[in-house]
Amino acid sequence: MSRKPRRLAATGRRRKPAAVWPRRALAFALALGAVWASGDARVRTSASARAAAPDGVYQPKRKARGVRRVPRGRKARTGTDATAPGATAVAPVPLLDAEGVKRLLARGAPPNDRPLLVNFWATWCEPCREEFPDLIKINRDYDARGLEFAAISVDDPAEANRGVPRFLRELGATMPAYVLNVTDSEPVINAVDPTWGGELPATFLFDRQGRVVYQHKGRVKPAALRAAIDKVTSDK
């Protein structure tokens, strides 16, 4: 059982095992405890470590997780200039004013019978872009199960026929989408939820009576959102 003490490379001195062991054990214990306590920090770190897009410019990624590829036979867009020669035309996304938002929100109230999920986002918003594949999956999974979905971009209205439809097409998004066209965003923010300060992304789930039953500011947690949708779509 006896082991020869290792020599320290730098000094050639013999290290006493009895003196080393407790220090290593203490370091290991502290590290183990920190990992145990840190919970899901690893997930957040990996998400936040992704590169950010330059100011205000949406740059399509070569590949994103959960993204449906552009159908074969259609040219994939890799640049940002829709007017470039050979660029594939994109259908503009409809604009939505403050009254339009209010009418849309009323969709989740009687006599309508479908709950409504609303996501506010922008192409310049990194966590918005990151969460979009999850929202597309949720739309596909719940559309036939009684959920209305509206994605409202707060990009500059000029992006309604440029960056916004290009982004939606690249990801294969099929939910109803709009670009907000207002001179003052505050009435819209308050109409959606008076407790919301306007930070993006923001996701709200309205029940059949038009009440906010789930809200999340920042990148959505798909499991929690799906659980809320399951509940609200099963409530009669």
Partner: protein
């Protein structure tokens, strides 16, 4: 020897749980957001480092007439749309007794980036780095840009947007400047809170 290893393993596990227990309350404490500072309430003093690591207290940065704290970002296009307006605000009001202080609470934007960004964008007011977003949590800041105006006594008199339009040519309401002008005129601030879209603050926890 085996007994020694067994007791050692027990010690390791015990220490692991003990150290974990030390970390957990700190994390839980950070997650427990106390009520944000309300309009009319005094903002307690705090100490934060600038991008060079020099510590500043809020008290040391207070202006004679009041103080403007603005949560800003280096990568947020909304915050960047306001760079010139924030610098102009600082220049316009410093001679009238107000100090403007930027606070970067984004965990994704390190101090070196904050320093480089300020130099590149011509931001000459003090910018603090809120590592761990302690001050953002205390003030209830959620987005960038988001402004807080304190009067000469340190009471919060305005909270919210700088103005109503990211595009400076479309501005029709400037609530932040209105609040400073009201303080200078000795009048109550007409609109104490105003909202606008912004980037969510990327918190450390």
């Amino acid at each position: 020897m085996n007994r020694l290893h067994a007791s050692g393993l027990t010690l390791v596990l015990a220490l692991a749980f003990a150290s974990g227990a030390l970390f957990v309350p700190a994390r839980a404490g950070a997650a427990d957001t106390t009520a944000p500072v309300a309009i009319g309430a005094t903002v307690e003093d705090f100490t934060l480092p600038d991008a060079d690591g020099r510590a500043h207290t809020l008290a040391s940065l207070k202006g004679k007439a009041g103080t403007v704290l603005i949560f800003i970002a280096t990568r947020c296009p909304v915050s960047n749309a306001y760079n010139e307006r924030m610098e102009k605000l600082y220049q316009d009001y410093k001679a009238r007794g107000f100090n403007v202080v930027g606070i970067n609470a984004n965990v994704s934007e390190p101090a070196t980036e904050v320093k480089e960004h300020a130099a590149a964008k011509g931001l000459t007011f003090t910018i603090l780095k809120d590592n761990g977003n302690r001050v953002a949590d205390r003030l209830g800041a959620e987005r960038t840009p988001e402004a807080y105006v304190l009067d000469a006594a340190g009471r919060l008199v305005y909270h919210g947007r700088i103005d109503n339009a990211q595009n400076a040519t479309n501005v029709t309401a400037s609530e932040l400047r209105d609040a400073l002008d009201a303080l200078l005129a000795g009048k109550p601030v007409a609109k104490t809170e105003a909202k606008a879209f912004g980037c969510s603050i990327k918190r450390a926890s």
